[in-house]
């Protein structure tokens, strides 16, 4: 699968879940809707947790895949609705 072009990159390698999710939320909170963020991690749990976090918080997952011993998740920041994220 080819890489999706990203606007922003987050290196979450060496972090164990849920820290990659926390760092993703912290970064997403600073980004405008529509921004594409690529997260690279080294805990297989991110392939469950970041897409799950995206689903509940209204962000779109464009890719979620293994890349050797690492994992890549690409997401598009959703519109900020009445919530706080």
């Amino acid at each position: 699968m080819s890489d999706t072009a990203e606007d922003e990159f987050l290196d979450a390698r060496s972090l164990l879940c849920p820290l990659p999710v926390i760092r993703t939320e912290e970064r997403v909170n600073q980004l405008a809707p529509g921004t594409v963020l690529k997260v690279r991690a080294s805990d297989p749990g991110v392939l469950h947790d970041i897409p799950s976090w995206c689903r509940v918080n209204g962000h779109e997952v464009l890719e979620a895949r293994e890349d050797g011993d690492e994992q890549v998740v690409v997401l598009k920041v959703g519109a900020d609705d009445d919530g706080a994220s």
Partner: protein, 347 residues
């Protein structure tokens, strides 16, 4: 209130907090979840590290709960501030090093801060009076409300009817008649409510989701504090207490010996912080040596480490000993016979 009221729900990943959020959401309240990362959460850490667990499902229960209820979830890192709760709990510890009452008050206080920063109106928890852990006693409920600063903005939907109405009830933001009066250790009311909502799968009850309630983990943490002469820790300490064999041959140093390849890889990331030891001649574990070991101590560490590798029966092995971030050197050592590894060295 003319606008839709907003509540922030503490979501642990267990059934009760999931039900509490659902009950209030059902009343037309805008609910969002919050989950706190303390470093002691029993989630996927050990599964993520250990090779043999690679095929086990890795699910964050708090996220899963939020998906079931259909609410947003914010996972917030409070691990730095949480140190004070663990090292100096005002209300003391439970059976192990679990400061449950201080922990609950602290989390509700953090939820109150989040509520104020984000323009929310009240706080929900899944607490049930009389249930484990011991922070859920009738006399501790007002302590949590007071010490967190939440006061009567703290609503416990599953047992609200057993207490005086809170502000959200008095103001009509929620209908008290649609709240519950659960109490005691029976799980039957919660299971019935879960069935009502169609929740067929849920995780363990409160208290079982924290390493501080674990006797073995608490013993290792107490040993760490004793060796340092101070009740301090950082997140790396907590991660390392969750893995490997911990062997303390003397007060000034401790070995953490990997138990399998996943732990070998993860612990290799700490080479710059601790001495490392491994057998060069045979497959075997990496060991971290914490503390202030002498040259003789490091040879002893190498002998112990060799005992846990494939070269355990060899007369001599070449051990690689590497100082933190320094140059490795090689020492010829004899693997230590199991009988010489004293029982009380095992932490």
């Amino acid at each position: 209130m003319s606008k839709q009221p907003k509540a922030v729900a503490l979501i642990s990943g267990g059934l009760d907090s999931m039900l509490a959020a659902q009950v209030v959401k059902d009343q037309g309240v805008h609910v969002e979840g919050i989950n706190f990362f303390t470093g002691f959460c029993v989630e996927g850490h050990t599964h993520a590290i250990r090779q043999k667990d690679k095929d086990k499902a890795k699910r964050n229960n708090a996220l899963w709960s939020a998906e079931q209820v259909g609410v947003k979830l914010h996972i917030v890192d409070i691990s730095q501030e949480y140190v004070g709760v663990v090292t100096n709990p005002k209300h003391g510890y439970g059976q192990n090093l679990n400061p449950c009452l201080d922990c609950k008050s602290f989390m509700v206080a953090k939820a109150r801060e989040w509520m104020e920063e984000n323009g929310f109106d009240f706080i929900i928890t899944g607490e049930v009076v009389g249930q484990r852990p011991k922070s859920q006693r009738r006399e501790t409920f007002p302590v949590i409300a007071d010490e967190s600063g939440a006061g009567d903005l703290l609503l416990r939907p599953l047992c609200a009817k057993r207490f005086e109405p809170t502000l959200p009830e008095r103001e009509g933001w929620v209908d008290r008649e649609q709240l519950y009066d659960f109490s005691g250790r029976s799980r039957k009311p919660q299971m019935a409510l879960a069935a009502h909502y169609g929740f067929e799968e849920y995780s363990q009850p409160a208290g079982g989701c924290c390493f501080l309630t674990d006797e073995n983990f608490s013993r290792k943490l107490a040993d760490l504090w004793q060796a340092r002469g101070t009740k301090e820790y950082d997140l790396d300490d907590i991660m390392l207490l969750k893995m490997g064999r911990h062997i303390r041959p003397a007060p000034n140093y401790k070995l953490i010996i990997a138990r399998e390849d996943g732990e070998n890889r993860f612990m290799g990331g700490y080479r710059k912080r601790f001495h490392t030891v491994r057998d060069l001649d045979n497959p075997g574990p990496l060991a971290l040596v914490q503390g202030e070991p002498s040259a003789d101590d490091l040879e002893t560490a190498a002998r112990i480490t060799a005992r846990y590798g494939k070269g355990r029966s060899a007369e001599q092995v070449r051990a690689e000993i590497t100082p933190p971030g320094g140059e490795a050197y090689v020492a010829e050592v004899a693997p230590m016979p199991p009988a010489q590894i004293a029982e009380d060295w095992h932490v």
